[in-house]
């Protein structure tokens, strides 16, 4: 996917500015999903678009060389490298989602029963609603991010 030409300065600069914004928006969508538009799935897909932008503009190896400060693994070597880590992300996401259901069973409710708790008198927030569904949503988010990034990295590497 590395382009023949280097992307323009405009594209590179805009990407630098936009990617953090996308990520913050994605996290906001994830957290507010219970009461306002958003949720784990949409937040996950949005996060992946941020990564896609980085991949397209800066190339596949950028994340590993610049951010993680290490030499990228040999291409096609799926046994190691960042693809493997993406795999861990979706695997743990699946575990979190299923685990949140099992937790309900441990407490004596049917599988995947969700609960809501209200915390009162917090600084800044005042009253805050905490939904156990957020844990499940976090699992969904991780699965979507991990899986789509795996696909993106694999297909991109082609």
């Amino acid at each position: 996917m590395t382009l023949d030409r280097k992307p323009t300065v405009i594209a590179r600069t805009v990407t630098r500015l936009v990617v953090p914004m996308i990520l913050v928006t994605a996290i906001a969508l994830l957290l507010q999903g219970h009461n306002l538009p958003g949720g784990g799935f949409i937040a996950g897909v949005l996060t992946v678009t941020a990564f896609a932008l980085v991949y397209i503009i800066y190339g596949l190896d950028y994340l590993e060389t610049e951010l993680l400060d290490r030499t990228p693994a040999v291409r096609y070597e799926t046994e190691s490298g960042i693809v493997r880590e993406y795999g861990r992300v979706f695997a743990s996401g699946l575990a979190v989602a299923a685990g949140s259901g099992v937790a309900a069973m441990v407490l004596g409710y049917p599988f995947l029963t969700q609960a809501v708790a209200f915390l009162e008198h917090l600084p800044v927030y005042g009253e805050l609603e905490v939904a156990s569904a957020l844990v499940f949503d976090l699992g969904v988010y991780a699965v979507v991010v991990g899986a789509l990034l795996t696909i993106l990295a694999e297909v991109g590497a082609e």
Binding site: M1, L29, G33, H34, N35, L36, P37, G38, G39, G40, F41, I42, V45, L46, V48, T49, A52, I56, Y76, T78, V83, Y86, G87, F90, A91, G93, L94, A97, A98, G101, Y109, F111, L112, T113, Q114, A115, V116, A117, F118, E120, E129, A131, A133, F136, D137, G139, V140, V143, V144, G146, A147, L148, T150, I151, L152, E154, V155, G156, A157, E158
Partner: protein
């Protein structure tokens, strides 16, 4: 005494648990996993042993809506098969520890073998038709894996496929028979649970009204034949016996375990199990003839064998035929023959297989012609062989003699019974065929024994003594066979070996119809004949003719081989012809082109055709559509979307096509915004963007331009696309037009928000303002869990496919 619920369930689950743990254990123990597996089998054996003396049903609900349960039934027959599966299992695992030394794939081998043992125990104890079928097929699957253990050998793969095709196809016949039984049982008031095969209020307990009901509905003969096909394929009855000799490609312990002592017994077990239900004149005709023909034909084929395992394989089929024939006979004696010979055959045949493994292992060849005079090098093995082979030949006082006497007795009495009740004198063929087949049994048994005597061929190198792990199991089995044989000698002088006789008696009870069988219910005992009877004469003739003709063994063998080589007499010729013909035929090429477009075409057309014809058949009318009151903004957005769709067809390249297509996607997103569905709109926008990116990445690899399209294909594609579009449009119209009274949406609206009065925590409501998300993560969280599993699986498949291609693999 009622069996303990926990013990019965543990019997079936323990081997599966062991199988699941095997890969981990193998990492720690390596080749010594054999002893772990033997310990699991010993645990099962102990559990089965603790069930002795109990009798009854244990039920665990499984699919209560359909009345299907995991019901287990404990009685003599179930205990016999269970004891064989776990007992022979212990010995085979110990033996494997020596035999499989240095072989590849041991973790897989032991895991599969343990899983097989669990399935076989399931078959033995299952009292529910569906549960029985499931365990039955599980044994077929594990047998497939074990036969194909050497997966790089073409012969192994061929053998595994063949056994799978034949036994699983037979299993499907049996399933149909079971379902017919359940359908009939549902209409019989005496049956409490339509799928319950044995136990109180079951199909077999209500045998008489069941048979009556089947007869009035004309289902008796179909059920009999369908169940018969299932049993015949599993137990390698003629003409389905052909998979068994090939199955000898498996490692020898597997042959001893699955293909002589247990799995092939599943078929005769089924025959013995349903015998009280289906025993009639038709039953005798079908199973009597099937059994005797199998016994004779495969005994003759065993004489022609050139390999010791091949000989034993045919001989196994032959003895299974003997058991089936026994169960086929009407008298109490018939059940005696079947039940007792299951035990005897398992003992001597498993011992002989282990002997064959020792011979192959130590002498380095399995060819009959290359072996001889092994007794000097393998004295213990020779002694075991003598006991087992003479039992197989039916020579007194070895164990096979008694059950063969029962067979002769049963066949003689049955033939006499039918002829005296006005039947055709052709019934007298039964005893004649029984004797004729037994002569060949005698011949090949002696031939096997003679491997250990006579001159040792010069070509045969040095023969080492086998390891203890291999000798011991064979000695145990041979010793048990000897004990059973000597029990008969003791019985003659009035000393009865009571535990054995009462156990065999309880096995026989399982196969005896509850009412009115001639011969009555007497305790089981066996002993050497003390007076001259027709069946003693039959035995004497068998042994006499066998002894006289044995010197001409080679000429008989060559004669049989000449007959066997005629193509149209060989079931294998038909099997190979059918499978190879199917492989080569152009019909397959037409359907399986290997092109994605062909499959997509067939799938789309079939879907459209089925859906549209279903609508037509249901006679639904298209709802009228009200165009009035449509917002202008919606019209504009959808208009642009349609234009975008049309423009795709005119796009000159892939890239422009995909870009044009995304116009459609973004218009749909705007449509969602206008329709006050912000969640959907957000998702649609982001997904559309991401899909566009991935599309462009993939398209990079494809040719930039479409090239010219030939008109016929374009027309064909247009028709398919039109049909699919029409189907979707009609479906949308129909499904949105329906307004059911009980709307689930109402429930979601009421329950997803925060209730007006609530404590600091609550679990019964969603407690969220965003209904869509509350449905996703709370009300329908199970669905979502399934969906994210699919997403994860998709990612895994992409990784795997890419990795496979990089390693140069195709497909």
């Amino acid at each position: 005494m009622q069996p303990d619920r926990f013990v019965v369930l543990a019997v079936v689950t323990l081997p599966f648990l062991g199988a699941a743990l095997t890969p981990l254990v193998h990492r720690v123990l390596g080749e010594r996993t054999a002893y772990f597996a033997a310990a699991v089998a010993a645990g099962s054996l102990a559990l089965v042993g603790s069930l002795f003396g109990t009798y009854g049903t244990v039920v665990v609900p499984w699919i209560p809506n359909y009345g299907v349960s995991l019901a287990f039934y404990v009685d003599g027959l179930a205990l016999l098969i269970g004891t064989l599966a776990s007992g022979v299992g212990v010995l085979v695992f110990i033996y494997s520890g020596g035999y499989m030394h240095g072989e590849p794939g041991q973790a897989k081998y032991y895991a599969t073998l343990l899983a097989f043992m669990g399935s076989m125990l399931g078959v033995a104890f299952a009292a529910d038709l569906i549960a029985l079928f499931v365990f039955w097929e599980l044994t077929s699957v594990s047998s497939f894996l074990l036969i194909g253990h050497y997966q790089n050998a073409a012969a192994s793969r061929y053998a595994a496929r063949k056994s799978m095709l034949i036994t699983v196809a037979g299993g499907l016949f049996m399933l149909v028979g079971f379902l017919l039984l359940a359908v009939v049982a549902a209409g019989v008031p005496e049956v409490d649970s339509a799928f319950r095969l044995a136990g109180e209020g079951s199909i077999i307990a209500a045998a008489e009204p069941m048979v009556e009901s089947m007869r009035t509905q004309g289902l008796f003969v179909p059920v009999l034949l369908l169940v018969g096909v299932g049993a015949a394929t599993k137990s390698a009855q003629v003409p389905f016996h052909i998979w068994l000799p090939n199955a000898m490609e498996a490692p020898t312990p597997v042959s001893a375990f699955l293909h002589s002592a247990t799995m092939v017994k599943a078929g005769v077990y089924l025959v013995g199990r349903v015998r009280p239900l289906l025993l009639t004149d038709e039953w005798t005709l079908v199973f009597g003839v099937l059994g005797l023909v199998t016994m004779t034909v495969t005994a003759i084929l065993a004489v022609a064998a050139s390999d010791i395992k091949e000989l034993l394989a045919y001989s196994t089929a032959s003895h299974l035929g003997l058991i089936v024939a026994g169960y086929g006979m009407t008298e109490y004696l018939g059940a005696e023959t079947g039940g007792f010979h299951i035990l005897n055959h398992a003992l001597f045949k498993a011992a002989l297989f282990l002997v064959a493994g020792i011979v192959a292992h130590e002498a380095g060849t399995r060819a009959i012609d290359e072996l001889g005079g092994l007794a000097n090098d393998l004295p213990i093995t020779a002694a075991v062989t003598a006991v087992a082979a003479l039992g197989m030949a039916g020579l007194p006082p070895f164990n096979g003699f008694y059950s063969k006497e029962f067979l002769f007795h049963a066949v003689y009495e049955t033939a006499g019974h039918f002829v005296s009740h006005g039947g055709s004198p052709l019934w007298w063929l039964l005893p004649v065929v029984a004797v004729f087949g037994s002569v060949f049994t005698f011949l090949y048994s002696i031939r096997f024994l003679m491997l250990f005597f006579g001159d040792k061929p010069d070509a045969l190198g040095e023969v080492h003594a086998p390891p203890l792990a291999m000798t011991l199991p064979a000695v145990v089995l041979g010793g048990l066979a000897l004990v059973v044989g000597l029990g008969g000698v003791a019985g003659t002088v009035g000393v009865h070996f009571t535990p054995l006789e009462s156990f065999v008696g309880s096995v026989i009870e399982s196969s005896v119809a509850a009412t009115g069988e001639e011969g009555g219910h007497h305790g089981f005992s066996y002993y050497l004949p003390t007076e001259v009877t027709p069946w003693l004469v039959m035995s004497t003739v068998t042994i006499g003719v066998g002894a006289v003709t044995y010197p001409f063994f080679d000429r008989i063998r060559d004669g049989v081989r000449a007959v066997r080589s005629v193509d149209f007499l060989r079931p294998n010729w038909y099997y190979d012809g059918a499978t190879e013909g199917l492989d080569r035929s152009s019909a397959i090429d037409l359907v399986q082109t290997g092109h994605l477009r062909t499959y997509a075409l067939a799938l789309s057309l079939a879907l459209a055709g089925l859906a549209l014809s279903a609508y037509a058949a249901a006679g639904v009318a298209l709802p009228t559509i009200a165009y009035a009151g449509l917002e202008p903004a919606l019209v504009v957005v959808l208009g642009v979307a349609v234009i975008g769709a049309l423009a795709v067809t005119a796009a000159p390249s892939h890239v422009s096509g995909v870009l044009t297509l995304s116009i459609l996607g973004f218009m749909v997103a705007i449509f969602y915004i206008l329709g006050s569905a912000p969640d959907l709109a957000l998702t649609q926008l982001v997904v559309e963007t991401l899909v566009l990116v991935i599309f462009l990445l993939v398209l990079d690899k494809l040719p930039a331009f479409y090239g010219t399209i030939d008109r016929v294909r374009a027309a064909r594609d247009a028709v398919v696309a039109g049909a699919v579009g029409l189907t979707v449009a009609v479906t949308v119209l129909l499904s949105t037009a329906g307004t059911p009274d009980d709307v689930v949406a109402q429930y979601f609206v009421e329950n997803s928000g925060v209730p007006a009065e609530h404590g600091p925590t609550f679990v019964d409501g969603g407690g969220g303002g965003n209904i869509v998300n509350v449905i996703l993560v709370d009300f329908r969280a199970f669905d979502t869990l399934g969906e994210i599993s699919v997403v994860a699986m998709a990612a895994l498949s992409v990784s795997t496919l890419v990795a496979m291609r990089e390693r140069g693999e195709h497909q």
